[in-house]
């Protein structure tokens, strides 16, 4: 217990910290320093009061000390990242407006007409993008440490939402509409669960492995195979990162081997489910349709045929050729084949944009999405906070995986689950992506403040090398100095 003088010094210094979140770690460090300073002075024979006064003088002016620490422990605004995500949300809203406008039968025959949005769609344009941006900002100011402190309760909430989704939620195309967005929101929970398993040994490892089950179950029950695989891979990536940092305390290689073995078993189980559930026939049918769409032009081959037609009709810049005219006389397109972009709204925004405005604008949009994802990856890999790092890696991987699937879809491959990050269609999925982005930005924002002392250090640090020595060994850790 510190004497009154030093306690007052400490409180005066801490009062300068505007970010309350940093107070606990700064208090512990300054308290330890004061305690050791005071103890050293007492050991020199100074009376207690003099030692306390001398220790306070040695520490310096508490207001200046606190002010210096306050300048360091400030949340990072990172408004650039928010602006980048907001710009993509706006681009996506504009694209959706244009597609919906065309679907309503409005004539679109010049670039200028894009600016004339019929009455009724202004609400969509003015409400959708700002609402999504508000979601991003709300999640950005969310305290991510709540995820770690209330993981159990949040897991229970997730399970309840899953039950509601599967009992009362709508079904679209044979899938529960809210299943995939809900699965997207599982990843931050999983990161928080893994964060709590630090140093818990085999129990922590097993909890980490089986903790992914609720999210994967939601994907399987949706049913959405691509999302199951994607979410599984993202959870595996975060878990393997934990193993590499010896998070569970069992050794990096042993933990990683156990996690990979578990993942292999899960993959085998999934394979058995696919073989028994008839899903394989479904995907074979889609693959067949993608390879030979003309074999079923009015069924599974419709979308691959139409997307291929849009690609062929696209020009580098400007509106593309009339698909109906291009397809005239082509036996692949039977009578009754509908040439309407209405059916390519969901998932094919890039192809639609290439056809409507040119290949270059579509490429620009794709580049913009890639750039924003790269920005999020960079921030995720540079954050010092362990929870932020896990959450960042998992969410960035999930968003990137969805984007990669979307690119494959726009190339004509028979995949689903692809979604243009922040610029796609589908309200629930956009909301989920906005929340994910906001949570990632919250972690990055608090990185300077919520330091994680156990982030990258091994359980036993390297022993200090004696003067002139090149080799030292202690507690199973070998240190070698290769150069001065």
């Amino acid at each position: 217990m510190l004497p009154e003088t030093l306690q007052q010094w400490l409180e005066q210094a801490l009062a300068q910290l505007r970010c309350r979140r940093a107070e606990a770690s700064v208090r512990a460090e300054l308290e330890a320093h004061l305690s050791e300073q005071y103890g050293a002075l007492l050991a020199r024979g100074l009376p207690a009061e003099e030692a306390a006064a001398a220790a306070a003088r040695e520490m310096g002016d508490p207001v200046l000390v606190g002010g210096g620490l306050d300048r360091v422990h400030r949340p990072r605004p990172a408004w650039g990242q928010v602006a980048a995500v907001g710009a993509l949300l706006l681009a996506g809203a504009l694209l959706r407006c244009a597609v919906d406008r065309e679907a309503a039968g409005a004539a679109v025959n010049s670039a200028a007409a894009w600016l004339v949005v019929p009455k009724g769609f202004w609400g969509v344009l003015l409400a959708v993008a700002p609402a999504l941006l508000l979601l991003v900002l709300a999640a950005r100011f969310f305290d991510i440490t709540l995820l770690e402190r209330h993981t159990g309760k949040l897991y229970a909430v997730f399970c309840v939402l899953a039950v509601v989704c599967f009992t009362a939620g709508a079904r679209v195309g044979g899938r529960f509409y809210y299943g995939a967005p809900l699965a997207l929101l599982f990843l931050p929970l999983y990161a928080a669960l893994l964060y709590r398993q630090r140093g818990k040994g085999i129990q922590g490892l097993l909890t980490g492995c089986f903790g992914a089950a609720p999210g994967l179950a939601v994907c399987l029950l949706t049913p959405h195979l691509e999302m199951t695989v994607l979410l599984g891979l993202c959870c595996l990536a975060v878990c393997l990162w934990c193993c590499a940092k010896n998070w569970f305390g069992l050794g990096a290689r042993a933990s990683a081997a156990a996690v990979l073995a578990g993942a292999a078993l899960a993959a085998v189980a999934l394979g058995i489910l696919i073989l028994n559930g008839g899903t394989l026939q479904y995907y074979f049918g889609r693959l067949q349709a993608a390879m030979d769409p003309a074999s079923d032009p009015m069924g599974r081959g419709y979308l691959p045929l139409y997307v291929d037609l849009m690609h062929r009709a696209s020009v580098p810049l400007g509106q593309g050729l009339d698909p109906a005219a291009l397809a005239a006389g082509d036996v692949q397109y039977p009578a009754g084949f509908v040439f309407s972009s209405v059916f390519v709204r969901d998932g094919y925004q890039l192809s639609y944009l290439a056809w409507r405005l040119g290949v270059l604008p579509a490429a620009l949009l794709a580049l913009a999405v890639t750039a924003v994802l790269a920005l999020l990856w960079r921030a995720a890999l540079r954050t010092h906070n362990a929870l932020g790092r896990m959450l960042g890696i998992g969410c960035a991987a999930l968003l990137s995986g969805q984007y990669a699937l979307n690119l494959l879809l726009n190339c004509g491959l028979p995949v689903s689950g692809g979604f243009l990050a922040f610029a796609g269609s589908g309200g629930a999925m956009l909301c989920a992506q906005a929340l994910l982005a906001g949570l990632m930005l919250s972690a990055f924002r608090l990185d300077p403040v919520v330091g994680d002392p156990a982030l990258r250090r091994p359980a036993v640090p390297a022993p200090p090398l004696p003067e002139g020595a090149r080799v030292a060994y202690r507690d199973g850790v070998l240190s070698i100095r290769f150069r001065r």
């Binding site: 460090e29 330890a32 520490m59 210096g68 360091v72 002392p453 982030l455 250090r457």
Partner: protein
């Protein structure tokens, strides 16, 4: 720090990185080690030390962890600092800049001493 603060811009960080390059230390240990090695020339107060240390940590030049200190109170872990690869690279760069700067200063002082008439009269 020494009164010659104007001659040591940004050197405090370099000194701390040098100490950490030889082994992990916590805050109080760094101030004592600095004082001992400089023969009480450099007396770094907490007000200077911790903002610099935390700033170095944010820049990725050092990283911190908690560990039971060898001589500390039982049950009370200390926050140790460890220099990273980025920190070592920064230290090398700062040392080379310091050597260049100090070499230039010494060269000027050396010539000035040789050519200063007052000093010449003093020697005489």
């Amino acid at each position: 720090m020494a009164n010659s603060r104007g001659l040591l811009p940004g050197s405090a960080g370099m000194l701390l990185l040098q100490l950490l390059s030889e082994g992990d230390l916590y805050g109080y240990q760094m101030t004592e080690e600095l004082r001992r090695r400089s023969d009480d020339t450099f007396v770094m107060k907490a007000g200077t030390l911790y903002p610099i240390l935390h700033g170095l940590e944010q820049e990725g030049k050092v990283e911190s962890y908690e560990r039971q200190s060898e001589g500390g109170a039982p049950g009370k872990p200390r926050r140790y600092y460890h220099i990273t690869r980025t920190g070592r690279a920064a230290l090398r760069q700062q040392r080379s800049e310091w050597e260049r700067l100090s070499g230039a200063v010494n060269a000027v002082l050396g010539k000035a001493f040789l050519t200063c008439p007052a000093l010449e009269r003093g020697r005489a």
